[in-house]
């Protein structure tokens, strides 16, 4: 949104997926206002599930033009590949902005009822905002309902909420712990496998060298919700227009707050906001020793922290119980068909090609982290040795993480706004102004009043 962020984006490879982590700062006008449903309407009531797989073949035969809005750079090759295979289909790929700019444009087009793209990239955390408003087409009848086993459970759960299939997963961000092995070795600290060990390692590192920290964190909505997710929390529950927001009483939130409160109190976290230039430098020069984040991170590190090549490694996410292997998703995008599209069947042909067909390999070659079980388990993918990570087969760990995402997580249908006010509430705890648990409760209160204002029935 702001030039500073754009600047850091230039340093790093533009990634679809990491926007979600930065949702705290993403300011987007979403929500399908114009098409907002009446209070009694559920998202699946629109009869959007029309059509069947035969329509798709017929549409492909007939051909036509499609408009696709996305900022993911790997889609360009996918479009080219598709057009080569189906010469009578012409797809116009337009980048109308990244993240929030994209959503504002999409929202405006939907509200105006003209110029709406047939297909649009939508991040998982923002899907609810569009599907609840009835702006997205339910693609289950085109054959998407048979694709469940094609994708890993995390992304599939995200796109199939509320009784429909609102998109198909493009990429995902199963989490892992990236760590600077050199820092751990030099300081003689064990690489943590549980969150308790993580706090101990944080102490050991900072005590041994006060200029070094276990990680940088000034509060990040996407990260916080992911860690709560991993801890088994379900602070957000959505059933039509009935929404539950319960951070104050959520067990996962309490676990997160416990661990992070300790580290904040003892000043074990570097006070560097994510995605700033300082942040990349801190990764580059060993100021921060770990980064717990989504599987899409390696490309960003290669370009943003080039001097640290060979020093970093990947390990599974720290666990809440020793020996467990629970993980969560962080970021990731899906591709959706708009309800306003008049060529849904043709659009679905491309959708399936890009997310579950030949387009997947094209995107992997372009650096995307796949969501398809088959590719995640292919020998070629698993056997890839990353030079940046000292020849480690990082995809083994990342792919494993994708299979172990805790199920049952839901985002709010107004998550974009909720994340944007995170610094005003939970963020205050990172400055020491208020306890983390109080910050989470403040966040809950702000989300509750916003949700009620927007016509949802929010309970805590």
């Amino acid at each position: 949104m702001t030039p500073i962020r754009s600047a850091s984006r230039l340093v790093a490879t533009p990634r679809t997926t990491r926007r979600a982590r930065r949702a705290a700062s993403a300011a987007a006008a979403l929500g399908a206002l114009a098409l907002a449903l009446t209070a009694c309407g559920g998202p699946a009531d629109d009869g959007a599930a029309a059509g069947d797989p035969a329509d798709v073949d017929a549409a492909l035969e007939e051909g036509g033009e499609l408009l696709l809005w996305a900022w993911d750079p790997t889609l360009e090759d996918v479009v080219a590949g598709f057009e080569e295979e189906y010469p009578n289909v012409d797809i116009e790929l337009a980048n109308v902005g990244t993240g929030n700019d994209h959503y504002i444009a999409l929202q405006n087009a939907i509200a105006a009822g003209s110029g709406v793209p047939d297909l649009a990239q939508v991040e998982y955390y923002a899907l609810g905002q569009f599907s609840i408003g009835g702006s997205l087409a339910d693609v289950s009848a085109f054959g998407a309902d048979e694709l469940q086993d094609t994708f890993t459970p995390g992304p599939w759960g995200a796109i199939s909420q509320g009784g429909g299939i609102w998109a198909l997963p493009m990429d995902s961000g199963p989490m892992a712990m990236f760590y600077n092995a050199e820092v751990f070795d030099t300081l003689g600290v064990e690489v943590p496998t549980t969150w308790d060990e993580y706090v101990e390692a944080a102490r050991a590192i900072h005590t041994a060298d006060p200029t070094k920290y276990i990680g940088a964190d000034t509060g990040d909505a996407g990260y916080t919700t992911s860690i709560i997710w991993q801890a088994g929390g379900t602070p957000f529950e959505v059933d039509g227009t009935d929404v539950t927001v319960d951070l104050g009483g959520d067990e996962g939130a309490a676990k997160f707050a416990g661990v992070y409160q300790e580290m904040i109190d003892e000043e074990l976290l570097a006070d560097i906001p994510g995605w700033s230039d300082e942040w990349f430098q801190a990764m580059d020069d060993g100021t921060i020793a770990t980064l717990v984040t989504g599987a899409w991170m390696p490309g960003n590190m290669e370009s943003g922290a080039p001097n640290a090549a060979g020093k970093w490694r990947v390990a599974p996410m720290p666990q809440w119980e020793a020996g467990a292997n629970a993980t969560a998703e962080n970021g990731g995008s899906s591709l959706a068909i708009t309800e306003a599209s008049e060529k849904k069947a043709l659009a679905y042909a491309f959708l399936e090609y890009a997310t579950a067909g030949e387009g997947v390999q094209t995107r992997i070659d372009g650096g995307a982290f796949p969501t398809t079980v088959e590719d995640l388990n292919s020998d070629e993918f698993l056997g890839y040795e990353s030079e940046y990570f000292g020849g480690q087969k990082i995809n083994e760990i990342l792919s494993d993480s994708a299979a172990n995402v805790v199920e049952g997580w839901q985002y709010l249908p107004f998550q974009v706004y909720a994340n944007s006010i995170y610094p005003d509430t939970v963020g205050q705890a990172y400055t020491g102004a208020t306890p983390l648990l109080d910050g989470l409760t403040d966040w809950q209160d702000a989300m509750t009043s916003y949700g009620n204002d927007q016509g949802f029935t929010v309970s805590n």
Partner: protein, 291 residues
């Protein structure tokens, strides 16, 4: 009678290009904002007329008033400093005793030519405690200057950027006003035995009062509309610059992140009215003795 009527129409004819543009770019947006502010659109439930509810809500909104208080504080501290500096520089240049006057004039004015967003970015880098200028100062002198971005000093840090940007602009307004004073007045004053300070107090300041009032009003409007600098620095200091840090920032995040266009319009209109009242009061006060 018919002649009078024709004359009146001719006048409108000349005015119409202006009126058309005025209606399009000024009246219509304000009218639309007023219209928007009377409704409430929800994600669930759609659009409904709510009368003055949005205004009532704004009047009781602590976040909004905290933002107003913040720009108020900014106004009473930063504006006098900036205008004082600008006046001092304008008088110094006008005294004719400064060597390389042209150079100083242009170099002090230069920051104004830097777009506000770029200026905020630039200062954002300099303020960096780890790799920026502040970091260098801390390292070089072994001191620990409080982090200008990640502490309660952030408002002062913003004030510094705004001062740097606008001193030259205000200086130029004042300097231009000083240049049109008839030099014969200075000569006469000197013959009467007046020194430089006396000339400043008795001739120069009264003569440029109009320019001072204008500069003050511009600065008041600028303070109330504070947006660029906090919006850019927010990325570096999210926990110290909230989404409601200034009223404009609040209106922005309400509409673009929260889709509360209607409430945001009400906030913008209240802020516009407040700004008008304060600016008008200053103008009345500043012009009083000239009547």
């Amino acid at each position: 009678m018919s002649r009078k009527g024709r004359a009146a129409w001719t006048g409108w004819g000349f005015l119409s290009p202006f009126l058309a543009v005025f209606a399009l770019v000024f009246a219509a947006p304000i009218g639309y904002a007023l219209y928007l502010s009377l409704f409430r659109r929800q994600m669930v439930g759609g659009n409904s007329f709510v009368g003055l509810d949005n205004y009532a809500r704004a009047l009781g909104d602590d976040q909004f008033w905290a933002g107003v208080g913040r720009v108020g504080l900014f106004l009473v501290v930063q504006v006098p400093i900036m205008l004082g500096l600008a006046l001092f520089i304008a008088l110094a240049l006008d005294s004719g005793r400064v060597h390389g006057m042209g150079f100083f004039r242009i170099s002090i004015f230069m920051p104004y030519a830097v777009p506000g967003v770029v200026a905020a970015l630039m200062w954002g880098f300099m303020y960096g405690e780890r790799f920026g200028l502040v970091g260098n100062i801390n390292d070089a002198f072994g001191v620990s200057v409080p982090d200008p971005l990640r502490s309660d000093f952030v408002l002062a840090a913003i004030g510094n950027i705004v001062t740097w940007e606008f001193v030259g602009y205000n200086m130029l307004i004042m300097y231009a006003a000083l240049r049109v004073i008839d030099p014969a007045l200075y000569e006469a004053a000197r013959i009467d035995g007046a020194g430089q300070w006396r000339i400043v107090g008795a001739i120069k300041l009264p003569a440029i009062r109009g320019a001072l009032v204008i500069a003050t009003i511009f600065s008041i409007i600028g303070s109330f509309q504070l947006f660029n600098e906090p919006s850019i620095l927010q990325a570096l200091s999210p926990n110290y610059i909230s989404t409601s840090y200034t009223p404009n920032l609040y209106a922005y995040s309400l509409s673009f992140a929260g889709q509360q266009y209607n409430y945001s319009a009400a906030i913008a209109i209240i802020m516009g009215v407040l700004t008008m009242i304060v600016a008008y009061a200053v103008q009345l006060r500043g012009m009083r003795r000239e009547d």
